[in-house]
């Protein structure tokens, strides 16, 4: 049975190893899609609608086509079709310079017949709202209802009840590198695309289908990637447009989204509003939960959220609807549905605990079925100093008040059988690992090197890792659902083991020992029963000559496991005169199984906490009902955490077993709930709407006073 072995046997796995691409990234040597420049490169730009809902009456490309330097112009939306949201693509150009391309799209004449639009949920749900989807009756989907147990019976047992409304607004992904591609046709049948994507093979297959090409005649390359968070799985309209412009012009085309377009059309985390009534028994059991909620994923659906979450409720009824608005579509965003669900649930838990007169941590212990989280509560409480917490919320002295809160989360991350890989040993002693996964910033490139180096007794820097390229024809799934490491690691491990076995078979006769007795370490193959019998690594591989070893791997269930629990504790300080909120410390206890690289696992937790902090305190998409436009499609008024917002983060890799599990998403889940509860503990006023900004703090404090 395959295994990762004991921790004591691991030389590299589970240690803190700097990422292989770190130096290239900080020196600028690393080339992202944005950095790719090809001979004869043209620059692509897309003209987008500024009107949220309209009939397309006419599109005139002639002036743009006539502009010197313009090499291709295409119409994307057909006359007679509808524009359904601001930012929707109308036409595109490719030109000799980016400036010419910008000028050219402004020369495209568009005749739009404006239709009534609704861009806020309130407007969409109002009586008499204009209907904006042809396939729904009204602007709301049929409710999704779930029932369990006996709701009324549950409430009959409740000693306390809480009724409250929790809201989280739409958040956008804010990928540091915007979506985009560089497309180049070698000839009419062969296309190469550099893509900022989470799924090299997904982009390949989509473009092959779009241009009616055999899949192996489309090559997609993602050497480095500047963030996706779930929004970068296919080429999208912009990728197909880049390829089309390149095809028409016969020149390579770079087309990256503007920051504004990134906010408008490249996905978002749907909003959540839940009206919930819940009850608990006098001995602290969550007994009944009745939730009616809605959210919007833009013109599409997909606005789901987790409710209830984490904690066990025997009697429940939940009802969720999607609300359609004339705004760009949602896409998966880091743990879709979880952080906003966790914020509402953990807020509710604290409200119930207070009514019971119970410590919120004790109330969780009673209702949390996860043994892992039970252990995490103890560890996290110690790390944050839970005993220092205000027993009476808002009771701290002075203008600046401190408080502590806790939040929880869960995730899968067990990977799946979707990866092919090869590990090769060359006669000069070099080792290569090749697979079609992509390093989206999480460090899979380094993890692969660690696994192979561990197997061969080499250093991670000795291993050449080739990822982010479809050309070798070794597919791997898209990097989503925190699945990458758990999907790739078993295949790399078994491929490396198979390659090692082949090498041992070659040298076993010389060492006069059975293959099973051979080991490798310190660049030397030796016989475990007679350590005088050795052969240097390079000497052994030198005998391979032209017959280098190259072995594939296989998916092995035993090497991975899904299902993780996480808990976070937050300490905050609030200036009650200005409403300013400073997060002092976050303790993130993240269940993760075997951390191949402890350093990048910690980085992943840090990043998740920072993203969760942004959702908790800063991020909100503002839609203007009157103009139908997003008011903060920039990074000035759409605020993300900066250096001043980052607290002390104690990332605890809580490894409970030695099987690989992904943790890309879960560390962002508990943060908003933990912070919201800490805010309440600090000032004794509950903010039930994210983000928790100074205006809400001041308004709530004023209402409390009044």
């Amino acid at each position: 049975m395959a295994s990762w072995g004991e921790a004591s046997e691991s030389r590299l796995i589970g240690k803190r190893i700097p990422r292989l691409s770190g130096r290239d990234k900080v020196t600028g040597k690393a080339k992202y899609t944005f950095d790719i420049n090809r001979p004869g490169l043209l620059y692509g730009r897309i003209l987008r609608s500024e009107i949220a809902h309209a009939n397309v009456v006419g599109v005139d490309l002639s002036e743009a086509e006539a502009l010197p330097g313009v090499k291709a112009v295409i119409q994307i939306v057909e006359v007679g079709k509808k524009i359904r949201y601001q930012g929707q693509e109308i036409a595109a150009v490719a030109a000799e310079t980016d400036d010419i391309a910008k000028d050219a799209i402004r020369l495209i004449r568009v005749d739009l017949e404006e239709l009534p639009y609704v861009v806020t949920e309130a407007d969409a749900m109002a009586d008499g709202a204009p209907q904006i989807r042809d396939d729904w009756a009204g602007n709301q989907s049929d409710p999704n209802v779930r029932e369990a147990g006996d709701l009324e019976g549950g409430f009959a047992q409740a000693a306390v009840e809480v009724e409250a409304t929790y809201h989280a607004p739409v958040q956008t992904h804010v990928c540091l590198e915007t979506h985009g591609h560089v497309a180049e046709w070698e000839d009419e049948q062969n296309l190469t695309v550099w893509a900022s994507t989470q799924g090299v093979f997904g982009v390949r297959n989509d473009l092959a289908g779009s241009f009616n090409l055999p899949a192996n005649q489309v090559r997609v390359i993602t050497e480095h990637m500047g963030g996706g968070f779930g929004s970068k799985f296919g080429p999208g309209v912009e990728g197909r447009t880049a390829a089309d412009l390149a095809r028409i012009s016969g020149r390579p085309v770079k087309l990256m989204l503007t920051r504004k377009a990134e906010h408008l059309v490249a996905g978002n985390r749907p909003s959540m509003t839940q009206h919930v009534r819940a009850g608990a028994t006098s001995d602290g059991r969550l007994i009944a939960y009745d939730m009616k909620g809605h959210g919007t994923g833009g013109i599409s659906s997909g606005a789901g959220f987790q409710a209830p979450y984490v904690y066990h409720v025997p009697n429940l009824r939940t009802e969720k609807v999607n609300v359609a608005v004339n705004v760009g579509n949602q896409r998966a965003m880091r743990a879709p549905g979880h952080p906003q669900g966790a914020f509402a649930m953990d807020s509710l838990m604290d409200e119930l605990a207070e009514k019971l007169g119970m410590n919120p941590l004790e109330f969780r212990r009673i209702n949390d079925p996860s043994e892992v989280r039970q252990a995490q509560y103890t560890l996290g409480a110690q790390e944050i100093g839970w005993h220092r917490r205000n027993n009476l919320p808002g009771s701290g002295e002075g203008i600046k008040k401190r408080g502590m809160g806790v939040g929880s989360g869960l995730w899968g991350g067990g990977g799946g059988p979707s990866t092919q890989a090869r590990v090769s040993i060359n006669s000069d002693g070099t080792v290569e690992a090749v697979t079609g996964t992509q390093d989206i910033g999480t460090g899979i490139r380094t993890a692969i090197a660690i696994i192979v180096a561990e197997e061969f007794g080499l250093a991670p820097t000795d291993i050449t890792v080739r990822v982010g390229d479809s050309a070798p024809g070794l597919p791997s799934g898209g990097s989503g659902g925190s699945q990458t490491t758990a999907s790739v690691a078993p295949v790399i491990k078994t491929a490396a083991a198979a390659a090692k076995q082949k090498l041992f078979e070659r040298v076993a006769p010389q060492l006069e020992a059975p293959v099973e007795d051979l080991r490798v370490g310190n660049r030397t193959i030796y016989v475990v029963s007679d350590r005088t019998k050795t052969i240097k690594w390079e000497l052994a591989t030198g005998q391979l000559g032209m017959e280098s070893i190259s072995e594939g791997g296989n998916w092995d269930e035993e090497l991975r496991q899904g299902g993780v629990a996480g808990t976070q504790f937050a300490e905050v300080e609030i200036d009650t005169q200005t409403g300013a909120i400073r997060v002092i410390k976050i303790v993130a206890v993240q269940d993760c199984g075997l951390a191949i690289n402890r350093l990048t696992t910690e980085s992943q937790i840090n990043g998740g906490v920072i993203m969760g902090l942004g959702q908790a305190l800063l991020e909100e998409r503002f839609m203007d009902a009157e103009t139908g436009r997003m008011l903060n499609a920039n990074l000035e008024d759409y605020k993300v955490p900066g250096t001043f917002e980052i607290p002390e983060i104690k990332s605890i890799v809580f490894d409970t077993h030695r099987k690989v599990t992904g943790v890309g998403e879960p560390p962002c889940i508990p943060t908003p709930g933990a912070i919201a509860n800490a805010v309440y503990n600090a000032i004794g006023v509950r903010i039930r709407e994210l983000p928790i900004t100074p205006d809400k703090i001041l308004t709530a404090l004023a209402e409390k006073k009044a």
Binding site: Q577, L618, R629, L631, K639
Partner: protein, 326 residues
């Protein structure tokens, strides 16, 4: 951005000659460009000619002597923030300068540009929204989303003035030297700024063919105490939700004279005479400072989303008074 021709300025006479008769927007001045470039890129401004002021000699210095400060319009915000005399004797100005944006922006942004920068209003900055400030019919903030808008002096345009330097300089009694085709004039910086009731399209009295060349600050007295406080949603870069520049002449604990100027809450830097009256001649204590805060906002008229600014401004004023005088 649209194409434009670019002229390196050689003299102020040349600049005012190039500016004359063109009206607003045809010929524009650029120094640090931290504000204007964004407006060009968003097509909010589409000038035909840009005049680069950075090539003008002698306009980027700070003179500090017994007669006060003379700060050239091309002086960078960073140079103001780190000037030793300003740090010691004009604390409010150094603090305001240090609070601007980010180090990168402070290193290129200039005094003149900071005073003449345009509003950050999200309706104004959107090319497609033809708001009242741009010659349209309505100020969209009135019925729209107004979290970052004015609570004082708004009618009929509810932008806020984004400058940090202006409130500090006004509180210090600064005046501004302006050169136009008819020569130079000097006016108080307080009078330089205007409210939308007087002119909804501009934030100051500068004519299209005039240029700010220098700011003069009267000498600080030995009993001058000052402080700048700025509230924002994020550490940096972020514009003020509200800010307060407070300058006092103190006789022991007693306030002989007070100057309190608010930023981020009105279409112009807002001198709070009410707060000044509440402080002048008083022994400064908690109660007096609280009264000054309350008086500063008693005429506030918040929109749908910015009532919090009333509380915030009130508290900031009280705190600034205590910080300055303690």
């Amino acid at each position: 951005m649209e194409k434009f021709s670019y002229v390196n300025a050689t003299s102020l006479e040349q600049v005012t000659a190039l500016l004359s008769d063109s009206g607003w927007g045809e010929v524009m001045l650029i120094a640090g460009g931290t504000d204007l470039l964004a407006e060009l890129k968003e097509y909010v401004e589409t000038p035909k000619t840009l005049i680069n002021l950075k090539t003008l000699p002698g306009m980027d210095g700070i003179e500090a002597d017994a007669s006060g400060l003379k700060i050239g319009a091309l002086t960078t915000v960073a140079d103001i923030a780190r000037h030793p005399t300003i740090q010691h004797h004009y604390t409010v100005l150094a603090q305001a300068a240090g609070s601007v944006a980010t180090p990168q922006i402070r290193n290129v942004g200039t005094l003149g540009g900071n005073l003449c920068q345009r509003p950050r209003c999200w309706y104004y900055r959107d090319e497609s929204t033809h708001c009242l400030k741009k010659g349209g019919d309505i100020c969209y903030a009135v019925d729209g989303l107004s979290k970052y808008h004015a609570i004082l002096g708004g009618d009929p345009v509810y932008i806020v003035h984004p400058s940090d330097l202006a409130p500090a300089l006004i509180a210090l009694g600064a005046s501004v030297k302006i050169i136009g085709p008819d020569g130079e004039k000097t006016m108080s910086l307080e009078d330089f700024f205007t409210l939308p009731a007087a002119n909804p399209f501009r934030e100051n009295v500068l004519e299209p063919n005039e240029i700010v060349v220098e700011v003069q600050v009267p000498p600080a007295k030995s009993n001058t105490k000052s402080f700048y406080l700025k509230a924002r949603e994020k550490g940096a870069p972020d514009f003020a939700l509200a800010s307060v520049a407070a300058v006092f002449e103190m006789d022991g604990k007693t306030c002989q004279s007070a100057s309190v100027v608010l930023g981020g809450v009105a279409p112009a830097p807002w001198r709070s005479k009410e707060a000044e009256v509440a402080l002048t001649g008083k022994m400064i204590d908690d109660n007096v400072s609280k009264q000054a805060g309350a008086d500063a906002v008693k005429d506030a008229q918040p929109l749908n989303d910015n009532a919090y600014k009333v509380t915030l401004t009130q508290n900031l004023v009280s705190r600034a008074v205590m910080m300055a005088t303690s």
